[in-house]
């Protein structure tokens, strides 16, 4: 076995690099139905949400929340609504912590 180096350009999961439903589902090891549920419950947001599902596009924030929701569901056996609440709380805690950190005298 050899260590092979590849030179690769990365695309940002944003704007033109946003993920479609199938891609997001695959990234989370789940199905498209599950992605639709996440959108319905409000765990994630999609661009072009008014259009059909195949036109939805998901940015980095949505990928992050989706991965988080997947883990919460799988590892703690909780429903999506509870997962959504936990994700909201986590986001708020992080925001507040960053704010407090910023107030500290330098």
């Amino acid at each position: 076995m050899v260590t092979i180096k590849h030179s690769i350009s990365a695309t940002v999961v944003d704007d033109g690099g946003a993920l479609g439903v199938i891609e997001l589902a695959h990234a989370c090891g789940a199905g498209t139905e599950w992605v639709a549920q996440l959108v319905e419950v409000g765990v994630i947001e999609a661009d072009d949400i008014e259009g059909p599902a195949r036109q939805w596009r998901f940015r980095s924030g949505a990928l992050r929340c989706a991965l988080q929701a997947r883990r919460l569901q799988r590892d703690f056996d909780i429903g999506l609504d509870a997962a959504a609440l936990i994700i909201d709380l986590e986001r708020e805690v992080r925001r507040l912590k960053a704010l407090v950190q910023a107030q500290r005298p330098r």
Binding site: V13, S60, G61, R70, R71
Partner: protein, 321 residues
């Protein structure tokens, strides 16, 4: 390369039941959840716990891992026939050090096993005609603010535990040279197509998703696409207003105009000087009024003069004392 003892990570015996594994995980997940944990190394421990649970909770992965552990215990190598080049064993531990002056020199992330939330079955490889796209692989990478602004090239090594058709586990390392585009914000993912897990039955490989984290910077705080910096000013500069020179992350020095009677904490916005991109972020300068020390006669007298001149101003009026 260190071999990770997943049982130890969860505080379990090799003979632990599925129930015990789950209970152990949930207890530790609560203890090390980064948002609520009081432990100093919570994020690292959480990652270890997650990694361990990903493997031990799954019958097939656990069996393969046990076999791998036995092989390592007998003096074998986790990588099978792979011979690491000298110096390779530097390891890729993700160290988040909030008080450090700068980021680690090289991209760091420990991934002994692919952190994978997959239903995609490796055991499916034993089924003939099983075809599925490879699973996606997730990891994180920490870059400096300068790298985020200008783009960067990074070499990262990922290690994934792959299980072959015979159920044999082997650690497969890969080194990738990644070009990170400029303007990637904290928490954004970058995607490397085809760098995930190999496909099954001839299908394409999955993708690699890297979560970008920006190392804490001495001067600037990143929030979304915006940057924040404290701009110290004297009371005279704040009261009288006027031009003040300030650095920017890009290196240029700008002149900002402080308005007269500026209060402490006032935000001055420099549009478009945050993270670059289609919608560039802004740079906010937060005014921080700093008193010149009253440590000589001249300054003391100046303060006394000011006190007399502004005698009618009472900052404690609302306290009623």
């Amino acid at each position: 390369m260190e071999f990770k003892d997943y049982y130890q990570a969860l505080g379990l015996e090799r003979t632990a039941s599925e129930d015990e594994v789950r209970k152990a995980y949930r207890k530790l997940a609560r203890k090390y959840h980064p948002d609520v944990s009081k432990e100093p190394d919570a994020e690292t421990r959480m990652r270890e716990v997650n990694e361990a649970y990903d493997v031990l909770r799954d019958k097939e992965k656990r069996t393969a891992y046990d076999a791998l552990a036995d092989r390592v215990a007998r003096g074998g190598s986790a990588q099978g026939d792979f011979q690491p080049p000298p110096g390779w064993d530097e390891g890729f531990e993700f160290n988040y050090r909030p008080d450090s002056d700068g980021p680690a020199d090289h991209a760091q992330f420990s991934e002994f096993f692919s952190s994978l939330f997959g239903q995609a079955q490796r055991r499916g490889a034993a089924r003939q005609n099983f075809r599925a796209r490879g699973e996606d692989h997730h990891a994180a990478i920490e870059i400096s603010l300068e790298d985020a602004l200008n783009g960067a090239e990074r070499e990262i090594t990922l290690r994934a535990m792959e299980i072959d058709a015979q159920g044999q586990a082997q650690v497969v390392p890969r080194t990738l040279h990644v070009k990170i585009p400029p303007g990637v914000g904290p928490g954004q993912f970058i995607r490397l197509a085809g760098q995930g897990m190999p496909g099954h039955g001839g299908e394409a490989a999955g993708d690699l998703f890297l979560e970008v984290r920006i190392a804490p910077h001495k001067l600037y705080r990143v929030e979304g696409r915006d940057l924040y910096m404290t701009l110290p000013v004297t009371p005279s500069e704040a009261a009288l207003g006027g031009p003040i020179r300030a650095p920017t992350p890009g290196g240029a020095v700008v002149e900002v105009t402080v308005p007269a009677n500026a209060r402490n904490g006032l935000k001055l916005r420099l549009k478009g000087r945050g993270l670059p991109g289609k919608t560039p972020g802004d740079l906010y300068l937060l005014l921080d009024i700093v008193l010149p020390p009253a440590d000589n006669d001249a300054v003391r007298q100046a303060y006394e003069t000011l006190a007399r001149a502004s005698g009618s101003f009472d900052p404690r009026r609302h306290l009623g004392v």
